[in-house]
Every structure is written in structure tokens, then in C-alpha cells.
Amino acid sequence: MAESILALTESRQSRGSSTHLREHRADAPVDLPTRSRVVVEGLTALFGATAAVKNVSMTLLDRRVTAIIGPSGCGKSTFLRCLNRMHETVGTASVRGKVLLDGHDIYGQKTNPAAVRRHVGMVFQRPTPFPTMSIRENVAAGLRVARHDDAVRGTVEEIVEKALRRASLWDEVKDRLDTSAVGMSGGQQQRLCIARALATEPDVLLLDEPTASLDPLSTQKVEELVWELRADIAVVIVTHNMQQAARVSDFTAFFLHGEMVEFSPTAEIFTNPLDPRTEAYITGRFG
């Protein structure tokens, strides 16, 4: 059963649309040096008294892409939002357990959530450009608040260009940087949001179903981008789409009812899942 899914993704990749990605992936230095970047220990996330994420422990590696899959309501987005302290911004939400970023507990007593978020960037399911700002101002929005003290940073101009290039949006918008971001297509808006998140040079990038509202072409661009980001930073991507997880990630975690059922290298989880529930999910028997 599980083999058939992988066969499916393989055949999708060899046919047409994903060819470029596959080539790129083949070229990528798979053995980039890595180390543990984020260590999650016994994380439980609550809304009031209801636990949306239950006692999850995992390690996220630098220069690797980790995908989180699972059916709707399994807690995968909530888990993601715990990694940059966004979860607690919702009324009754609270968190138990530890999240260590390079060994420092981001839920520690003296930790400033805003400072955590400057190191752990996030892109949401729906594009969220600031409608009153131009494209340029959108990309630079995070710079105004992040790392004021960093003297090594280039001028805003250079940073904006670099971020837009990394998000492979530069060629499309370089002639209209001062126009409103609302005039862009959905796919462009999402890449703008990625550029905005990259401009502050985060060490970890969290993507919460970044392609859920995009067309296939934009989706492909975002996926290529995720793979390129892998050269520099740790990326965590929550996705509904198992093929997407198979295409872009090194590791995959499967969530169900708030629990992490399985966390393995992507190739293994799709070919040889350890848990029968994982196998049921990836072969499409539920969710």
C-alpha cells in the first residue's frame, strides 16, 4: 500500500510539472552539514482546558526541511504556532513543555516573544500582505523592528532586493516596487510574504500550509523555493498535501488527534511506515 503512494509521487515527479524540482533536488548537496536547531520536549498546547497538541517531542535539524502532515484538526498548525510563540496570542491559549532554540528555552522566564519571532519566521496559509504598504515597504516591514543593532546589515534597498530574489519574485516586481501589494496575484502575494519573512534573516522558517490557497504553478514555485531555503536554514512546513511533503521534505512527522504518531525520514515514512495509522493515512484510507 505505502509503496504505491511513493510510486505515485515518483511518477508525478518524472512527468512534466515537477521535473525542474526533481533536477534541482538531485543537484542539491544532500549532505549539507547539520545540527539540531530546535528541540521540542513534551510540548502540550491548550485552548482553555482542551489540548490541541499532546506531549510532543521532536528535534528539528538545521538545513533540513521537516514536513508535518495529518488530517484537519490534528493539531499540526497549533504545533507550528508553538514554535514561535504565536499560539499564546489567542485568548485562552497556553503551552506546557519546552521548546529549545539553539539550547535556549523560548518559553523561559526572561524570553521576549517578539525576539523569538525575529529568529523564527512564519508564513501563513493565506497571503497576508499589508494592504496599505507598497511591495517594497512590505518586504522591509520586519526590518523596522528586527535587530535594530545589527551594524553588518546592508542598506534596506539591498536587503529588499536580496529577499525578493530569494523568494524568486524580484524579476516580476522589480519595476513596480512602489505599487501596492494588493494588486499582485495570490501566488505573488504569498511569495511576497515569504520574502518579507526572509528579509529579517530568520534562523528557522515556519510555513503553515503555504500553498493551500495557491494554483499549481505558484505552488510549484513555492516548493522550489522551500528546497532552496534548505541550503541556509531550518524549514518546517505544515501541509495537507502528502505529495508535497514527499517532494520537499527530509523528515516527515505525522500528527493525529493532537499526538505525533510517527516522525521519520520522509523516504521511510512513505515507503515503510512504522505505525498502522500512518499507513492508513498516507494510503488515503482517512483524512
Binding site: 496570542t89 517578539a114 519571532r117 512564519m122 499589508f130 494592504p131 523596522r144 523592528v145 528586527a146 494588493v182
Partner: protein, 337 residues
């Protein structure tokens, strides 16, 4: 047989079974049309009533004020001589007072109202949100004459004994024309302060609703970039809400321009153009309220109607500017020029 009917065609139609035994009755498709038409007419009538009433009002006030406009010409707007005994009427002090007292009110009320709105919408713990919002809204329910009494017995003495001496002597602002002259108490400043309290609930409740309507995703986007709560509000929430907030401020301005009773009680009612906020003044609304009952002369009445017309025009102008501002900021946000 007509030419247009192809041969054999009518025969075929004839031979088809007629559906009347089990088809839809013609009457089933009719009916209700008259009800609809009556309803349409009634609704249109009611809808037109309001603008018609407005036009009629403008026309009547304009007609009644016409003799004064005719006699004094443009000087009616710019002369500051208002002498009912000698039938000399110039409305400049009242027009000036109306605008200045409203501007003072906005200057004082806007930051306070925005502060309340931002606190209630963004910072207040849920259990405090309702009570604070409700109490601020309640300010709008207090009768104007009560504000006036409070102004006469509390505000004016406080201004005279403490605030005015403080501004003039302690802060040494007495040298500037705005804060010079003797502190009588009843003054433009007193009117502005009372108006500020009266328009505050309008501005703050509109601003609060507008802030609450800003999508959560905008706040989260800013927070996720490492913004603090305040930075997220200043950078993402307030710009998004700007046009609505401006609308709320203009609504407050509209209220301030027309307020009568409370202003009449604290402004001092003097026909004089004075730069100092400590000096008494007049507003159009209080002028009409004070003199209308005693105006026995035709020209005096006409002059009062004419200032009423001017007030009407100012209010209309303010609203037009407001619409334009709101439209401008909204389209700025939308358009990709």
C-alpha cells in the same frame, strides 16, 4: 394560411397531445404582481421622503435667511458687528467660534478616544472590555444640559482657578496670543473641553468597532515578523483601520459643530473675535438658541435663519470632506498605481 407557417407544421402541432389536463395552470404563474408593485411604490415613496425633507429644510431656511443675505451680502460672513437694536448683523464671531470650539474638541478628544479604543480593542482583558466600552458609550447618553450644568459648576471654576493660571503663568504661555488675557472662566476653552467630552464616545466607539474589524491575520503577520504588540498595532492595525477612524473623527466633528445647550452655558456668549482661548465667544447654535425667542424684528429673525443656513453649509462641507478623505485612504489602500 399565412406564409410564415411552414407547410405541415401546424398540423403537427395540432396532432400533439394538449398538456392542459396535467400541465401548469396559467394562473399558477400569475398573481402577486400587484402586491409587488404596491410594495415597490410604498418603499420608493418612503425612501424619497427623507431626501425631500432635507431639500425642503434647506429651501425653507434659505428662504427665511434670504433677506439678511441680501441686505448684508458677503459682509454677513465677515463682519463681527451683531447689533439687533440697530439691525446690523455680522456672523463672523459665531462662525469662528463654531469652528474653533469644534477644533479644540477634536484636538482634545481624538487622542483620548483613540487611546480608549485601542485599549479596549487590543489590550484590555476580556472581563474589562465590556464595562469600559459600555461606560464610554454611556457618555453619549447624558443629556446635553447636564453637561452644561457640570460645565458651569465644576469645569468653569476649575479652569478659572487652576488650569488657566497654570497655562498662562506656570507654563509661561501667557505671551502667546492663544493663552493671553484675563481668566473669566466662561470661554472658548471651556466650550472646547465640554465638547471634547461629548464627542469622545462617538469617536471611540467607531474607532473601537473599526479596530475590532481588522482581520486577525494582519496582527499575526506583524507579530510573526518580530513586532511587539504596540509595533503590530502601529504598523499593521492602525493603517488598516485608518479610513474608518477618520470617519469616526468626522462624525465627532459633526456632533461638535451642532451642539447647542452645553456650549451656550459655558462659552460666555459674546460677539467678539478673540484670538485667546480664555476669552468668551459665541457659536452659531448657541446664538440661535439665545436669540430666537426674543427676535421680534423681521430682519433679526432673518439673520438668525441665515446663520442657521451657514451652519448647515459648514456641516455639509465637513461631511463631504470626510467622505472624500475616507474614499481617498480606502482607494489608496486598494489601488495599485
Amino acid at each position: 394560411m399565412s406564409q410564415s407557417t411552414p407547410p405541415g407544421r401546424s398540423d403537427e402541432a395540432q396532432s400533439l397531445p394538449q398538456p392542459f389536463d396535467h400541465g401548469i395552470e396559467a394562473a399558477a404563474l400569475r398573481g402577486g404582481a400587484i402586491v409587488d408593485r404596491v410594495y415597490d411604490a410604498a418603499i420608493t415613496f418612503f425612501a424619497l421622503c427623507v431626501p425631500l425633507l432635507l431639500l425642503l429644510l434647506i429651501f425653507e431656511v434659505g428662504k427665511a435667511g434670504w433677506p439678511a443675505f441680501q441686505k448684508f451680502g458677503i459682509g454677513f460672513l465677515f463682519s463681527s458687528e451683531w447689533d439687533p437694536v440697530n439691525l446690523k448683523f455680522g456672523a463672523a464671531p459665531a462662525i469662528f467660534g463654531t469652528i474653533v470650539s469644534s477644533i479644540i474638541a477634536l484636538i482634545l478628544a481624538t487622542p483620548l478616544a483613540l487611546g480608549v479604543a485601542i485599549y479596549v480593542a487590543e489590550f484590555a482583558p476580556p472581563w474589562l472590555r465590556q464595562p469600559v466600552g459600555f461606560l464610554v458609550d454611556l457618555l453619549a447618553a447624558i443629556p446635553s444640559v447636564v453637561y452644561g450644568l457640570w460645565g458651569v459648576f465644576v469645569l468653569v471654576p476649575v479652569l478659572r482657578e487652576h488650569v488657566m493660571p497654570f497655562l498662562r503663568d506656570t507654563l509661561h504661555l501667557g505671551g502667546t496670543p492663544l493663552f493671553s488675557g484675563p481668566a473669566y472662566g466662561p470661554s472658548m476653552l471651556a466650550a472646547g473641553v465640554v465638547l471634547a467630552i461629548m464627542v469622545l464616545p462617538y469617536i471611540s466607539s467607531v474607532a473601537r468597532e473599526v479596530l475590532l474589524a481588522v482581520p486577525r491575520s494582519q496582527r499575526e503577520a506583524a507579530l510573526a515578523l518580530g513586532a511587539t504588540r504596540w509595533e503590530a498595532i502601529r504598523g499593521a492595525v492602525l493603517p488598516f483601520a485608518k479610513s474608518g477612524i477618520i470617519g469616526g473623527i468626522i462624525l465627532g466633528l459633526g456632533r461638535a459643530l451642532g451642539e447647542t445647550m452645553a456650549v451656550t452655558m459655558v462659552i460666555g456668549n459674546r460677539h467678539e473675535l478673540a484670538a485667546s482661548l480664555f476669552a468668551p465667544g459665541y457659536t452659531i447654535a448657541s446664538l440661535i438658541a439665545n436669540e430666537f425667542a426674543e427676535a421680534s424684528n423681521e430682519m433679526h429673525l432673518s439673520a438668525l435663519m441665515a446663520v442657521g443656513f451657514v451652519l448647515f453649509a459648514i456641516t455639509l462641507l465637513v461631511n463631504a470632506v470626510a467622505r472624500w478623505l475616507v474614499w481617498q485612504t480606502a482607494s489608496q489602500a486598494r489601488s495599485a498605481k
